[in-house]
């Protein structure tokens, strides 16, 4: 296109005709590329976010089916639905998929979709990296389930303790593929975290100072920082494990005979593993805060307290990992410290719960499906939290370690604390995602089935654990007397399965024939509700200026909007970190095939590492080739005719400033 055309910026003239012309220009500039190839290259954060959420729910469904198979096997003593080996593969894949392929990615996917909208910008800071992260995650997920289908699914538990998972006791490639899946999904998580942090730091709409950031965005920010510091431990750990296992390498990190240490693996794993729980839970508290505020129709009670408790959870979350290891030989002082820290984390969580209760108490409740799921969250999560306090005490933990009591505890925390708010959040934001409302009636059926089903499955497990039923056994004898409660749990599991089916049916049916959604169907307070439902590719025609903590509610009739950004190139606004005052314009690049290519190279070299160490140098060389292409195309897109010359001047010798 001719240069004078790209020089055109949004004008300060806000007449209807000018706005219409600029709207058409934005539509053209930000349009999603067409066709299947175009779809592979689309870097719109909404597209990447929805793909991530959808993929995560597919893995959730598959891992849920594995759970149903396990419940069938356990429904009566000495059952023979699954043999011991298949059972081992099923529970390992169930746990690994739920944690690595569902919980973390879905929370990040919600962040990738919602954060740019909530902070009032057009895309993430690094859109191509964002797409790369998705593909790497997808490859990791497909790897795990392909392995299971080929009967080489991991079978050493989702935390793969050595020496069981070491070369001596787990020959074959099962654990190797597991550890490559871990590395791949953690790369994806880290890429997403970097993107979310930078987007929140630099791209907030003018006026959205730190003390006005929506609580969900705070939650995603805290989570992203936790990912940054937690994931490296497991990535390094799983790399060390695969190096120990690989015949041509055979390092000795976890080999006692040569000075290695199996307990080291537990430290590496849980230094990631416990923060992981909060990485899943903190975004869910973000959902809860947004949903409660909207459906209480009043300002959030204790905004500052809620932000501080999230940050406190982030910090304390890194100081509790050893409570997973109370049955290993620990110094007594260590036990006391980690018991104290594990109990300490109840304080910020308790403060949060009371802030939410106060908001509900003082509000005018509008009881819709999202709020029902939040009520479910309260009931289940608080119980899970209380059993958590019990397990933080060493003497009790020594008795209950590796029993069904622990299974009951963490399913209360994870399903209550994360899945219930998540499903509530899907009901809440579905109109924004798709432009259609989900059915309220089916939503209520969905809630009741999940809520009742949940208690049938997991409440009896407390008693099974106290009765001494160990985790990870594929069957038990009738004389143990665990038959009835296990049967009850199986009935509950199928009730929950029915609930999930109703949810899927509701989503599909609403997508096709749901009631059309307005921009702000629930009367929400955050900026995404100012965008169309579903939002245009550029999110906002003019970036809004934020005037208060509840951006939509506090918006005055004469609220200013941002003008002066380019409409013919993908340009966004960067603001200062604290006050969010306008700082500079920031242009980003558009669709590209490079993210997919790099993800394929990454995937091939990581999976190859399960078989040969040479995949690493080869992978590095291939990555460099792709990255060079990536760098070159990025650089060209910042030159005319893609970018106006004055925005990226070329300096000559003697042009000294």
């Amino acid at each position: 296109m001719p240069e004078e055309e790209i020089d055109k910026k949004q004008s300060a003239d806000l007449s209807e005709e000018t706005l219409e012309i600029e709207r058409l220009e934005l539509e053209e500039t930000w349009a999603a590329p067409r066709g299947f190839y175009g779809w592979l290259t689309d870097v719109d954060h909404k597209s990447v976010g929805l793909r991530t959420i959808f993929t995560a729910f597919v893995f959730f469904g598959l891992a849920g089916l594995l759970a149903l198979a396990m419940r069938l096997q356990l429904s009566r003593p000495e059952n023979d639905v699954l043999g011991p080996d298949l059972y081992n593969q099923f529970f390992t894949t169930h746990g690994s998929a739920m944690m690595f392929l569902f919980a973390v990615p879905v929370m990040e996917g919600m962040g990738i979709y919602l954060v740019p909208l909530m902070v009032g910008t057009r895309n993430m800071a690094f859109p191509r990296m964002n797409l790369y992260g998705y593909y790497v995650y997808l490859i990791g997920g497909v790897l795990l389930f392909t392995a299971l289908l080929l009967n080489i699914g991991p079978d050493a538990g989702w935390f793969s303790y050595v020496p069981l998972s070491g070369p001596e006791f787990s020959p074959g490639k099962r654990v190797d593929l597991w550890s490559q899946m871990v590395s791949l999904t953690e790369i994806a998580a880290l890429v997403g975290a970097v993107n979310i942090i930078v987007t929140v730091m630099k791209q907030r709409a003018p006026g959205m100072s730190l003390n006005r950031i929506p609580l969900f965005v705070w939650a995603e920010l805290v989570t992203a920082f936790m990912i940054v510091f937690a994931m490296p431990a497991v990535m390094l750990g799983s790399t060390l494990l695969s190096m120990d296992r690989l015949t041509d390498v055979s390092t000795h990190f976890f080999n006692v005979a040569e000075g290695g240490d199996p307990i080291l693996w537990q430290h590496l794993f849980w230094f990631f593993g416990h923060p992981e729980v909060y990485i899943i839970f903190v975004p869910a508290t973000g959902f809860v805060s947004q949903i409660i505020t909207t459906f209480s129709r009043r300002k959030t009670f204790g905004y500052v307290a809620l932000v501080l408790t999230m940050i406190a959870t982030g910090f304390i979350g890194f100081g509790v990992w050893v409570h997973h290891m109370f049955t290993t030989p620990l110094p007594q002082l260590g036990q006391s410290i980690f018991t104290a820290a594990s109990m300490l984390i109840v304080i910020p969580n308790g403060v949060q719960i009371f802030c939410w209760l106060a908001t509900l108490w003082l509000g005018r409740l509008n009881i819709k499906t999202p709020l029902l799921f939040v009520f479910g969250f309260f009931a289940i999560f608080v119980m899970g939290g209380l059993t958590g306090v019990m397990l933080a005490s060493v003497p009790l933990d020594l008795q209950l370690h590796d029993t069904y009591f622990v299974v009951a505890h963490f399913h209360h925390v994870l399903i209550g604390g994360a899945v219930f708010p998540l499903i509530g959040a899907i009901y809440y934001w579905f109109p924004k995602f798709t432009g259609r409302m989900m059915s309220e009636t089916l939503g209520k059926v969905n809630f009741v089935l999940l809520f009742v089903g949940f208690f049938l499955v997991f409440f009896p497990m407390h008693f099974l654990g106290i009765d001494g039923m160990p985790r990870r056994v594929y069957t038990y004898v009738a004389e143990a007397g665990w038959g009835e409660l296990n049967l009850l749990a199986t009935v509950g599991a199928f009730t929950m399965g029915l609930g999930v089916l109703v949810f899927i049916w509701n989503a599909i049916d609403s997508l096709i024939s749901g009631e059309k959604a307005a921009r702000n169907p629930w009367g929400g307070d955050t900026l995404e509700w100012l965008a169309d439902s579903p939002p245009r590719p550029y999110n906002f025609q003019n970036i809004p200026v934020v005037q208060g903590r509840h951006a939509v509610w506090e918006r005055t009739a004469d609220a200013p909007v941002v003008t002066g950004l380019h409409t013919k190139i993908r340009e966004m606004l960067c603001t200062t970190v604290h006050a969010a005052s306008p700082e500079h314009r920031y242009s980003i690049v558009g669709p590209s095939i490079m993210p997919l290519l790099l993800a394929l190279v990454t995937g091939a070299s990581f999976i190859g590492f399960a078989f040969s160490p040479w995949s690493i140098p080869l992978g590095m060389a291939a990555s460099f080739a792709v990255l060079f292409g990536w760098f070159w195309s990025n650089s060209e897109e910042h030159r005319p005719p893609h970018t106006p010359e004055e925005d990226n001047p070329i300096y000559e010798e003697g042009d000294l400033e």
Binding site: A125, V228, L236, T251, L565
Partner: protein, 214 residues
Amino acid sequence: MTPENALPQTALDVSHLPATQFDHRSPLWWGNLILLFIETAMFGVMIAVFVTTAMNIRPFPPPRVDRFPVMLHSEPDLLLPIIGLVVLLLSLIPGIWLDLSARKRDVKAVKILLAITLIFNVALVVIRYYEFDSLHFKWNDNAYASATWMMLGLHMFHLIALLCEDICLTVWLYARGFDEKHALDVTVAAVYWYWIVGMWVVLFPIVYLVPRMM
């Protein structure tokens, strides 16, 4: 609350703002910084791994008895590692100079200095490659050897990554000229450079001096 489809009435014009900014004003700088947080965490974990193996093995470092000549004191040699450290520290001079020249948009200086840092970079990778010989152990001799190799290897990975980044920048600069966006790129790559040097200042005593002190 405004009605949903009301036209905006007042404008906050940002057209006069610059299109690129250095340092903490730039998203790229932040992205790089967070990446370095990740990598710092990675090295932190690696140090913990090293300390664990060092505490497990007695005597430490373990005598090398499976090969001839037998070595009762198997501390790593220091000559080449010290040369490597000095070269790494010296590389800061062109590194910082390059950073400053890019900010001044001094094209001539940037072109020359980028070539010099590239030479330093290649030299560092070569020195590191031979540094593994100073350890007296292969990676699969014992857990201490595994941890040391891993630590050196991870840091070498960053030297190679920086080399790749520098190659990209140099090729672009000589082929397509020095523009504002790449001035920013050079300053961000400089942060990565400083971090690599700083990280080695922490790792060097752990890898090479701790075994001598025990």
